[in-house]
């Protein structure tokens, strides 16, 4: 189980500091106002924000939201110094986040190792069909791996058998009957017995079952039961059970998504994580396309994060060499029409055909090839990646390129592919025999054919283009400043981009030093995206996350699945995309669920947060909670509404009624412990049933107040 021993989530010293800081925050506020920027770290330019606002603004923009006490830490350090430190993540100790991630084995594996440990559906099929042998597992070293393979192959064979049986309608009908209700109830009894055991015994029991029964057992669990069982396993146990009972690839996915959320919540290198998220969105990849789920771990770890604050050129080239990108945008399939490979297939090159238009003859584009039996498929030119590089990755859609430029760049990039699937390596591979020979002209500049280097040169040219400088600068300004950033600011950032060879840190520094960044217009101007909202809520409440998978599911509900954007555009970063009724309701429900411990695998440190909120909810203690969660940004109006709700004398009676209303949380992913999020008023200090190591009481007023603050209009902004 998770051991709460470090920093944000647990460091006792920090928590005490935080509590003290919070209770003095309001008085500190007044002092700061009167002090009027007497501090040494006064603004380098004229600004209308006061010092506290400046610190909060910096934290709002360069982190996933302030943690309790973080304002004071930054004040003590000086906000300029803090920002500089954030620009140099290597100088920041990040042992906490590292220890969080350490539980996930796949995060350290190469794509090849991942695919070998968690066989792809294709591999499973080939083994089951006898086209490929079981891998050599060695002596005893990794019995898990053998079990995973065996179990996956067995499940595949069973599915095949079922599919065949289903072709017989009668059998299908009987099967449908079997799923309901009689047999199912019998199954429920077994499930109840299983759930009654302590976690370790559940694990042993699960392992002792034959493959088929184990899978059936987990399938018959309700979603919240399944999530509960998994949460209570150790990470290692969880990993193995997921691998044994579902598609082995889902281990890879869940670890990838969870690690992203955990880093964003716990890393001290916040700006690096913000920028990693920014670039993952900019160089978007969709996890559900083919085998992307096996490639994304390395993509985030080796391609994006190391370059997140480096040079744009390096980032672009790294993505262009990544199997994940080459596969996502189809460049791995693109072959030059006149390449050596195309020429040597034994087919004569097609005679040049012409299209007659307006009395003139034009060469006919894109000749097609026939497939040769049993050998690597001969494919043609694929323009997809070349187009998206110019439209989305570098120049922007108004960047002044033509269809001819797209075709030329596509030819330049032929041969940039992935090592053949049979090697199982998932590495970049330049295949010169696929490369379109000859010089190409892109944006008026000629690139001589020197193989892979032709592509490198063209990409470097694109990375240095003024259009790229402007496009990237504007996108950064939309993320960090406002939905409609001032053009003068964007121009200034673009100038730095051009003069500093696309150095992203320098561009951010220019933005930081600009008066527009610190203007009143920019303050609290951004509405949080669902991801920013969820992570900021976890940070504000010092949440203890033992299983982040349910959080990833919450993001699905809010319309922002991680790695889940199909088109290469990524997610929009402007408010209009995220402010709508359904999304707002999802935020309210998340806020209440989080505050009352209804999100599986997440506990908020109620003791630290709720210390001063007693059942008589005095205005002072509510103010303290507000200060801690929203750093004093909650409006007087919101404060009054919450205060009124907490002070309502009929509240206790209504809460007691609601305690029996189990349907209330039916749609939460959380377990139903019988402890309704409103029930605490009637039953204070109730220890949570069915959960180890959780002994912090949550009373109704505390969780309600927290839920309302997190759902307030002010908390939706940063």
């Amino acid at each position: 189980m998770h051991c709460p021993s470090l920093s944000l989530r647990a460091a006792p010293v920090l928590l005490i500091t935080a509590i003290l800081a919070a209770s003095t925050a309001l008085t500190a506020w007044g002092k700061e106002h009167s002090a009027k920027q007497s501090k040494a770290n006064a603004a380098p330019v004229a600004t209308s924000l006061d010092d506290n606002q400046r610190i909060l603004h910096a934290l709002d923009r360069f982190t996933f939201g302030p943690t309790p006490g973080e304002l004071d830490q930054v004040r003590a350090m000086g906000v300029d110094k803090w920002f500089e430190q954030q620009l140099h993540p290597a100088t920041i100790n990040d042992a906490v986040a590292d220890s969080e991630i350490a539980q996930f084995r796949t995060l350290k594996m190469s794509s090849k190792e991942i695919a070998s440990n968690y066989p792809t559906p294709q591999m499973v099929r080939q083994i089951a069909d006898g086209k490929m042998g079981m891998p050599d597992f060695g002596f005893g070293a990794d019995s898990d791996k053998r079990a995973i393979y065996q179990s996956a192959v067995d499940r595949y064979r069973q599915r095949q058998a079922e599919n065949q049986a289903n072709q017989n309608e009668e059998v299908a009908a009987r099967k449908a009957d079997r799923l309901f209700p009689a047999d199912r109830q019998a199954g429920r009894a077994e499930v109840a017995a299983f759930l009654a055991k302590p976690p370790d015994d559940r694990y042993k029991m699960a392992l002792s079952l034959p493959d088929g029964e184990r899978t059936a057992m987990f399938k018959s669990l309700k979603p919240d039961e399944r999530q509960q069982v998994l949460t209570e396993f150790t990470p290692r146990q969880r990993e193995e059970i997921i691998a044994l009972t579902t598609n082995p690839g889902s281990v890879v996915t869940t670890e990838l998504l969870q690690a992203k959320l955990l880093r964003e919540t716990y890393s001290n290198r916040q700006l690096q994580e913000v920028m990693t998220d920014f670039w993952l969105n900019h160089f978007n990849i969709f996890i559900n396309k083919g085998q992307e789920r096996y490639l994304l771990t390395a993509y985030e770890r080796d391609v994006i994060r190391p370059h997140a604050l480096g040079k744009f050129k390096d980032l672009l080239l790294a993505t262009a060499h990544s199997p994940a990108m080459l596969f996502y945008l189809d460049n791995s399939e693109s072959m030059g029409p006149d390449s050596e490979f195309a020429q040597n297939r034994g087919h004569k090159p097609q005679p040049q055909k012409y299209v007659r238009r307006r009395g003139m003859y034009f060469p006919r584009p894109a000749p097609t090839f026939r497939q040769a039996k049993g050998k690597r498929k001969l494919t043609g030119l694929n323009e997809n990646y070349a187009r998206e590089i110019m439209e989305l990755h570098t120049l922007g859609v108004d960047g002044g390129y033509t269809q001819q430029d797209v075709t030329s760049l596509a030819k330049v990039l032929t041969g940039w592919t992935i090592t053949p699937p049979k090697t199982g390596n998932y590495d970049f591979d330049f295949r010169s025999e696929w490369h379109q020979p000859g010089e190409q002209t892109v944006l008026g500049k000629r690139f001589k054919d020197n193989g892979e280097k032709q592509g490198t040169k063209a990409l470097e040219m694109l990375a240095r283009s003024p259009a790229t400088a402007h496009f990237i600068s504007k996108k950064l300004a939309v993320r960090f400043v406002s939905d409609n950033p001032p053009p003068a600011l964007v121009d200034r950032m673009a100038q730095t981009f051009l003069h500093k060879d696309g150095d992203i840190s320098q561009v951010l520094r220019t933005m930081y030093k600009s008066p527009e960044f610190w203007s009143k217009d920019a303050y609290r101007a951004k509405v949080k995206t669902p991801l920013e909202f969820v992570v900021s809520a976890l940070r504000a409440t010092s949440a203890d996350v033992t299983n982040a998978q349910p959080l990833a599911q919450q993001l699905n509900k809010m319309g922002m699945p991680l790695y889940g954007v199909q088109p290469p555009t990524g997610y929009p970063m402007t408010a209009d995309a995220w402010v709508n009724s359904a999304a707002l309701l999802a935020r309210f429900n998340f806020s209440l669920a989080l505050a009352s411990g209804k999100i599986q695998g997440v506990t908020i440190d109620s003791q630290a947060l709720d210390q001063n909120i007693s059942s008589d909810a005095s205005a002072d203690s509510l103010a303290t909670l507000e200060a801690r969660l929203s750093n004093g940004e909650l409006s007087a109006q919101s404060h009054a509404v919450i205060e009124k709700e907490l002070a309502d004398p009929s509240f206790a009676a209504r809460a007691a009624t609601a305690a029996n209303d189990a349907a209330l949380n039916s749609h939460f992913d959380g377990e139903d412990t019988g402890e309704d999020f409103l029930a605490g008023g009637a039953k204070p200090h109730l220890p949570r049933p069915q959960r180890a190591n959780v002994n912090l009481p949550v009373t109704s007023r505390e969780s309600l107040a927290i839920g309302l603050i997190l759902g307030s209009p002010e908390f939706q902004r940063r």
Partner: protein, 429 residues
């Protein structure tokens, strides 16, 4: 249609007596005229549903020009075989065109003349970027990026003046990705991904306490000076109250309305729910992805065939589910551009130009392929590679807005486009 309406307005009382002589849907329509609907929706009950196929659907393999010899020359492995008995092949419509076999659920709609097709339709803009092309079609202003709102929202702006009571469900989008561009603008629009989660504490039997918390959030947002969040808060809580009264958790689709499992089927089912619950829905928007087949598109089977099964099965189920309401409903499908006339080297197709649109509904003069067929001979292709465009998508949408929704101000809905009613395709009766 306007003549029919006038007749019923005049003869309302008489028609009421003679209900048995009139089809049920007409009496229903008449009630709609005489009695304002429960939530103050449009009195004439006209509804428009827009379905967007995101990713550029391959119109040439959806409504197959099997009578055009060039079609088979350009699609050696992905062509849909000519209509014939026995094997999977195109379902003939009129000797020139046929439906992809996965569109079999559309055949009865075609035969009963509810379904019309407009081929070689789309946006005249030359972009082959998904993002730009979708943006242009949703804003209704090809080539102009600065347009802030969507055409369907503008279509309602003018209507606002005519109908004073506006339902918060007047404009709804059933999508997972928030409010689509098509519905962005001045008129409040609701985006929902799942009706059952539309409420604080869920829609299923929310307790008194949850309702109290809901009111607390409502008060916070109502009092907020944050204009963006204040406005959305207002819309949200009004919609929650109305939906709660309509009790969506109890919904049962009409017999025979078998929605395929999946996101698109779920969306359409919820559109039917909202409309049948009489929540004042005037326009609805849904989208379906998975059309961008650069590689291994397939022919009668394969990737495209699978998406089309979902597409046609869901739409056919919606039509059955709407029942009588279908008589006052028009459903239009669109996609950002078509795909190359020739298949590429990967057994797929690349980004092209013109496409096909379906128009389904009671007022539709169906059973006909509208528009001019430009042909697929090499010299007939746009830029030597794509199906040429003969019907601007704004012509089709404009007719729906003008004749069906009754908004005559097309110069506001589609600024800069000459949408004179004389130029309509006349596919609505």
């Amino acid at each position: 249609m306007s003549i029919t309406r006038r007749i019923f307005l005049k003869n309302g009382a008489m028609a009421l007596v003679a209900t048995t002589a009139i089809p049920a849907f007409l009496t229903r329509a008449m009630y709609g005229i005489d009695t304002p609907t429960r939530f103050g929706g449009p009195k004439n009950g006209k509804r428009l549903i827009i379905l967007f196929q995101r990713g550029a659907a391959d119109g040439l393999n959806i409504v197959v020009p099997h009578g055009d010899p060039h079609y088979y020359q350009m699609r050696s492995s992905i062509a849909i075989p000519r209509p014939s008995s026995g094997q999977l092949s195109a379902i003939d419509l009129d000797g020139l065109f046929g439906l992809h076999p996965s569109l079999a659920p559309f055949k009865p709609l075609w035969e009963r003349k509810h379904l019309a097709i407009v081929h070689a339709a789309g946006s005249p803009d030359t972009t082959r970027s998904h993002f730009d092309a979708q943006d242009y079609m949703e804003s209704g202003t090809p080539g102009i990026k600065s347009t802030q709102d969507g055409w369907l929202n503008r279509a309602l702006v003018a209507l606002d003046k005519q109908n004073k009571i506006i339902s918060p469900f007047q404009a709804v989008a059933l999508t997972n990705a928030g409010l689509p561009r098509t519905l962005a603008g001045k008129v409040p629009a609701v985006a929902v991904s799942n009706l059952n989660e539309f409420g604080v504490g869920g829609m299923k039997n929310p307790s008194a306490a949850a309702q109290s918390i809901s009111s607390t959030f409502e008060a916070m947002y109502a009092g907020s000076t944050d204009t963006v969040l204040h406005g959305t808060g207002d819309e949200t809580f009004e919609a929650v109250k109305m939906l709660k009264d309509a009790n969506p958790a109890q919904y049962q689709p009409a017999p025979g309305a078998d929605y395929p499992r999946g996101r698109f089927g779920d969306q359409l089912k919820q559109v039917a729910q909202l409309m049948k619950a009489d929540l004042g829905v005037e326009v609805a928007f849904c989208d379906i992805g998975g059309w961008d087949h650069h590689v291994n598109e397939g022919n009668v089977n394969g990737q495209l065939a699978n998406v089309l099964k979902d597409f046609s099965g869901s739409i056919a189920a919606l039509w059955i589910d709407l029942g009588d309401l279908g008589e006052n409903t028009v459903i239009v499908t669109m996609s950002e551009f078509g795909r190359t006339a020739r298949q590429n080297g990967n057994g797929g197709t690349d980004h092209g130009h013109a496409n096909v649109m379906f128009v389904l509904g009671g007022p539709v003069k169906g059973g006909k392929v509208y528009g001019t067929w430009p042909g697929l001979a090499p010299e007939q292709l746009y830029e030597g590679r794509d199906l040429a465009l003969t019907s601007d998508f704004r012509r089709v949408l404009g007719e729906s807005v003008y004749r069906h929704l009754g908004n005559r101000d097309l110069s506001t809905v589609f600024p800069g486009f000459d949408n004179n009613p004389d130029k309509f395709l006349h596919l609505l009766g």
